[in-house]
């Protein structure tokens, strides 16, 4: 690699291209801080004074902290339980793939990846509301269960590369299957757990369709859902709307700025498997 010279042409092209990504974000940030007359003057200019009035108003109108709390609650529990349960199920399947039942389970979970959500959407909503699951807890359970499809796929590829001898040694020392998993396998799965945690949290945090069809109580709305309801009611004040969008995007962007190295490599690992 070092033998090659830096290509300034490619660097320049990539920088120009990256402006296409950064520009909408620049627009979002500046509009969020402006007042309507200021925006009418010059759309591109920086705000004259960085006022937080729009944010204060948007927080009140969208009940932002409540939505943030809901999104955080759902995401945290989905990530924790997805990593704990999905890895365990994958382990049980991976170590028994030579048996018919487990092999069937493997392909059963995999094939579900190709079922588009709209086909289960209508009956699922009827079913979950009949069972009193049209709330955040129901949402959490559904995410954990639906995540199995993809996670079984990436965990099993990884688990099968772990030598069985490691487990046999632990069993000789008197460990149970349960103990073997938590003490030997789970720690070895750390890179995959991180990958699953990243992909799962992005999915749960940003998802719009499942909260839209499942949640009937407005108090339970998650961040994307709040933006949708908000947009429908106050579509005229763009400064307010953009302050609201910015607040909804900011938590993920902040996490990304600090952890982008791990996020990118985590997603990369998940996608190669």
């Amino acid at each position: 690699m070092n033998r090659k010279k830096t290509s300034w042409i490619v660097t320049t092209l990539l920088i120009l291209g990256s402006l296409l990504i950064l520009f909408p974000l620049y627009l979002t940030i500046t509009i969020a801080f402006k007042t309507p007359p200021e925006m009418a003057g010059n759309l591109l200019a920086l705000p004259k004074s960085w006022s937080f009035d729009n944010f204060a108003q948007a927080i009140e109108m969208t009940n932002f902290f409540n939505a943030f709390k809901n999104s955080a609650f759902v995401t945290i529990f989905v990530v924790i339980f997805t990593v704990l349960t999905n890895s365990l199920v994958s382990y049980a399947i991976a170590r028994n793939l030579h048996k018919k039942f487990y092999k069937f389970l493997y392909f059963y979970f995999l094939s579900a990846m190709f079922i588009p959500f709209p086909i289960i959407m209508l009956p699922l909503v009827k079913q979950t509301s009949a069972w009193g699951m049209d709330n955040l807890v129901g949402l959490i359970i559904l995410y954990i269960v639906f995540n199995l499809s993809f996670n079984v796929f990436i965990y099993i590829g990884y688990i099968r590369a772990i030598p069985v001898e490691l487990e046999e040694a632990a069993i000789m020392d008197g460990a149970t299957t349960w103990g073997v998993f938590w003490k030997v396998i789970f720690p070895l799965l750390a890179p995959m757990n991180a990958t699953v945690a990243i992909i799962t949290s992005l999915g749960a945090w940003n998802d719009f369709m499942l909260p839209l069809v499942l949640l009937s109580d407005r108090e339970m709305a998650t961040l994307p859902l709040v933006q949708y309801i908000f947009q429908g009611q106050f579509s005229t004040d763009y400064n307010l709307a953009f302050a609201s969008y910015l607040m909804a995007l900011a938590p993920m962007i902040i996490v990304y700025i600090f952890a982008q190295k791990w996020i990118i490599s985590g997603v990369m690992k998940g996608s190669i498997k």
Binding site: T11, F101, P123, L124, W178, Q227, L249, Y256, I272
Partner: protein, 287 residues
């Protein structure tokens, strides 16, 4: 050994049951209701294949399928071309390597719905202002308000968002290619173009296959972008199949009818994915 078996069963059977109850059972129910006239409440009767025949005769459904295909095919092609170019760029010897990579992956972490709202503003207000300022006639009107052009706006937003994930995949493939191969080719006098077609492309063929299949599948399910940008309009010109099933099923009392539509939609996605896999795998082998 016996005890070990039972532990594995205790782990997998609840997972299997939960998955069946919340995923497969609703899917089977959907298929079942597609043969009835259920509105989502009240009584129902079996109607046989009537719903299916009606979907085929339904102009609104036909338009939704046409729009979804047109959108998905154009978006899939654009996303793959652009993300391959970006990935090759990011993989070459450049300055600000880490920063650029972080910027190009940024859209992947953002909510599609909110990105859609932001672009909605760009199409409705920002671009027309630019058009006015520079006297560019074609930009002065909001393309999302034009039934013939609104789909292009949705393609732009979908591509803007999806390029990041596809770039990650292509980059994952590109970093596995050894630099020596290119050097050897250079010595043999191969140009940039030859190197791309003879080395790069064949070696990342599996990633190309995955990207094509996944992007087409995801774009066929387009929903968030449309809700944020056009709501299916103007008229019904950008109503995707998912949006039609959602609207008809929840708001229009067409539970059974849209279930039939969902089954057809499912079959279409499976057929498309299988055809694509067959075609692309064959090409991979030939290479």
């Amino acid at each position: 050994m016996k005890k070990k078996n039972s532990v594995f069963l205790i782990i997998t059977i609840p997972a299997f049951l939960l998955f069946f109850i919340f995923h497969s059972f609703p899917a089977l129910q959907g298929i079942f209701y597609s043969f009835t006239d259920w509105k989502g409440y009240g009584d129902w009767n079996f109607v046989g294949l009537k719903n299916y025949l009606n979907v085929f005769k339904d102009e609104r459904a036909g338009d939704a399928y046409l729009f979804t295909f047109k959108f998905a095919i154009v978006a899939t092609i654009l996303v793959n071309i652009i993300s391959l170019l970006v990935a090759i760029g990011l993989n070459s010897k450049i300055k600000f390597h880490k920063t650029l990579r972080a910027i190009y992956f940024l859209p992947y972490i953002l909510s599609i719905l909110i990105v859609g709202f932001i672009f909605n503003f760009i199409f409705a207000h920002f671009l027309p202002q630019i058009g006015d300022a520079f006297g560019w006639e074609f930009l002065t009107r909001n393309i999302l308000g034009n039934p013939d052009l609104a789909w292009i706006g949705i393609v732009i937003v979908a591509v803007w968002q999806a390029v990041s994930f596809n770039t990650i995949l292509y980059l994952a493939g590109l970093v596995t290619i050894s630099e020596d191969l290119y050097e050897a080719a250079s010595i043999d006098g191969a140009g940039v173009w030859t190197k791309f077609w003879k080395i790069t492309f064949p070696l990342i063929a599996p990633f190309f296959t995955i990207n094509m299949v996944l992007s087409l599948k995801n774009f066929l399910m387009v929903f968030d972008q449309i809700v944020a940008l056009t709501g299916g309009g103007p008229g019904k010109s950008t109503e995707s199949i998912s949006l039609l099933i959602y609207r008809g099923g929840f708001e229009g009392g067409e539970f059974a009818y849209q279930s039939a539509n969902a089954v057809i939609y499912f079959i279409v996605i499976i057929v498309f994915s299988v055809i694509q896999l067959k075609f692309l795998n064959k090409r991979e082998v030939e290479n």
